[in-house]
């Protein structure tokens, strides 16, 4: 067996820098990534001005990123044999505790695994005051009957279109502004008290990614009309069907896009 082991070529880069072995460096890197995610990103959000308060990285994202980082570290250290041995040596040595001097000190690393296990189980079994995570699907499927609708004003151009949009703006500011805000940024006067924040129309991931029929459905049927997958209990969106005529809803949708400066998604049928 041993004869089959390749003679490792001398590496320029066995991961050992400044007297520190590759294992400590891996640990430092992972801790660094953790710190970057835990503190760097919230702080960055304030720095670049996308958020007034530090925006913490949610637990779920944290888990994904740390798993990725761990995988990356593993890939790096094990992709080359010399590096892999350099990485494993301290671990193996920790396990094969020799007799003799400094034994107590060398036993210390062995405490790490039980402590880690204790910490994880503690987090699992101890009661926490966290409310259960609330997943939410942003774009539940558009019901068929809405997919077939057509915006009666979609074909208008120029001044006619402007006139329709102006009517839409008035309707929007009257009915939608309290929650979605004067600028459509989802921060109207009533937004502060809502846990599920009203949608920010200027965000490229919202109305810009759906066809026009989609907001029509949402406006007409409201939060109550959402299917179960989209957790209707949380949405304060009214069902406007009894109060706003379909034509007026189309006007509002056109105004929304105007206010937010976005374009609705278009079906790509023309390309075929």
């Amino acid at each position: 067996m041993a004869t089959l082991q390749p003679t490792p070529p001398p590496l320029d880069d066995d991961g050992t820098v400044g007297g520190l072995g590759i294992l400590p460096w891996t640990a430092i890197t992972l801790v660094g990534v953790y710190a970057g995610l835990r503190f760097g990103i919230p702080w960055l959000a304030v720095l670049v001005g996308v958020s007034a308060n530090p925006a913490p990285v949610p637990k779920f994202a944290m888990a994904i990123y740390m798993l990725c980082a761990g995988l990356g570290a593993l890939v790096y250290v094990s992709s080359e044999d010399t590096r892999w041995r350099a990485f494993l040596t301290p671990i193996v040595q920790a396990f094969v505790v020799p007799h003799g001097g400094g034994r107590a000190r060398r036993l210390l690393p062995l405490a790490i695994i039980p402590l880690l296990v204790a910490w994880i189980t503690w987090g699992q079994v101890m009661p926490s005051t966290q409310s259960p995570p609330e997943g939410r699907i942003q774009h539940p499927g558009l019901p068929e009957q809405f997919a077939k609708l057509e915006n009666p004003f979609g074909v208008l151009k120029g001044p006619e279109r402007n006139a329709i949009e102006r009517e839409g703006v008035i309707l929007y500011q009257k009915n939608c502004r309290p929650c979605h805000g004067t600028k459509g940024t989802g921060d109207g006067p009533l937004a502060r008290g809502l846990r599920l924040q009203p949608v920010d129309f200027t965000d490229p991931g919202t109305i810009a990614t759906v066809v026009e029929q989609y907001p029509f459905w949402r406006i007409q049927k409201g939060g109550i009309g959402l299917p179960n997958v989209a957790t209707p209990w949380n949405s304060a969106m009214p069902a406007w069907e009894d109060e706003i005529e379909p034509d007026a809803i189309w006007r509002i949708i056109m105004a929304e896009h105007g206010i937010a400066g976005t374009e609705p998604r278009k079906p790509e049928g023309s390309e075929r």
Partner: protein, 666 residues
Amino acid sequence: MVSPEARRLRSTTYKLFATAFVGLAAGLLVPESLWAVQGGDALSRIDDVRTFFGLNPRNTVWFVAQLHLLFAAFVLGVPIFAVIVEFIGWRTGDERYDRLAHEFTKLLSAAFATTAALGGLLAFTLFGLYPRFANYFVGIFAPSMYVYAIFFFLETAALYLYYSSWERLRARKGLHICLGVLLNVVGTSLVFIGNAWTSFMMTPVRVADDGEFLGTTLEAVMNPLWMPLNIHRLLGNIVFGGFVVGAYAAVKFLSSTTPERRAHYDWMGYVGNFIGLAAMIPIPFAGYYLGREIYSASPVMGNNMMGGAFSWTFIMQALLVGLLYIIGNYYLWSGMNRIPGSERYQKYIKYFNVILIVCVAIWLTPRNLPLSGSEQLALGGQVHPILGYFGLMAAKNAVVNFIILATFASFLLYRRANKTDLVPISQQGRGAKAVVVGAGLACLLILGWYAVELFTLAPESMDLAPEKAVWFKLPAVLLVVTMTTVVVCVGLALRDRGHVAQALYCGVVATASVGVLGVYGFFVMAAANPFLRQIAVAQWLILITALILVTAIDVVLFRGAGSRGAIRWGHVTARSQYALISLCVIIVLTMGLMGFIRSGLRENWHIYGVMRDTSAWAFTPSNAEMAWMVGMITLVFLAAVTFLFWMVGLTGKEFAPAAATGEPVP
């Protein structure tokens, strides 16, 4: 030891089996279809759905169909692989390739029989469990089903011919390869017909409001999703073929005890991984094309796919595909162990690693993160102000491009690991220069064509206001900049600055396609959303030119280069062999998962918008249920394939290793 006669007999038996099953399947289709046409009255008595021994009919069909599909992919992917490998063997004169191709073709007859059996079973299950649907379907596709049966016979014949003439045509390799190509053409046609049925279920055409089909069978075959699905599946099958071979080699390697056998299987695993990884590069493009066509056919289906119930399934898909790239790269890096001289390039690995991991992490980030109540309050909304951007299409496009580019560059690194003493391009013949210039011209053509497209693009054609035309300018200008770089790089390469040219071009492409257009995508999303698809195309065209030009330069650059020593085949870690196995497992899982998405997109429809599934199983299963089903299918499939390998291994003669030397391929 088994005599050649006995072996031939046995392989004939397989073929008989296969034929019998095909006949059975076809025979089954014929009377059913005749019945469907004649029995107008009987129709009203046909059940919508039946159960079979209390089994969940939906899951039964799911299981059988997916298993059949995997075997079909196997019998399609492996011959493609075999012919490619045989061709390489022919051109390089390396015997090993030829033997490898032969070894795998041997597998095919058994696999072929299994596929046919499963196909028959699938037909049985469909007619048995969903009779009304099956009837309707046969009414539309009956003619294509005859064609299918005929092609099945042709495939059997072609396979037999290809396999049995191996030795006889050794002297006329070209002819033999033509036979192989013929086999693949037939096989591909076969799969195309099957794809027509599948895609029709998603995008039916020419169907009246009351469900009556008005078109011809040909029209039904040529439905909008047919071609995108064909391309996607064809590429997927090659990847699959490559990775299955890789895994086979890995298992053999791990159980080998002699250095010669190890060397052989190490080499075989390398070839499998190389072909799989190479075919993986265009797959995201094909996937994007397919996705776009789904959006065009039905924006509702598209929204369900990317934003609705399946958005999380796509996160899982990103996880699997991301892992494929990471592990594929890992295998390459591990393989540098066996190459003398590779230590010079070890230090770059960490950069590629970081790029891959960061890109995959971004790819994995969902738009709507699951939040606990207090996280939601702390963020003041459902979307994280920074990470939320990672969930958008623009970010995903950018990182996928970057992953492909990094994988490509990582491979270049591998290729040059033991190269030394380059022959300057200026001293090479005219042919070498022509290759570089030709590749440059091709790139200019691609980029120029799209730049013109963008410059002349009318905003009205996308229902955009005329002033939005300003958004088209930057990508167009970027394309022109890239064209200039092409010229510069070709010039540099011809003046013996090949390395510089490669680095420059990769750098420019990364900046343009990933950096600039990636970020620009966010602005476009908000301001001129319909234009985003052009951005994606521009990004990918730029990337493709990098693949073309840099490969061309590379080929010429290292032509006749000296070596730092022979590659020590067999000197590779066991870990890397497990990487090969995991590639195979993951590709099977990915195919199962994609099958779920494709089929699940129809929601509660058998045929989208035409025939509703009114059974109790007309719902979209949760991702957990999907994972269990796909996981079990994967295990069953891999067990079956292992069994096949084992069975064929018994009949094959003992491996006689050749001297394990040679160049890294290709």
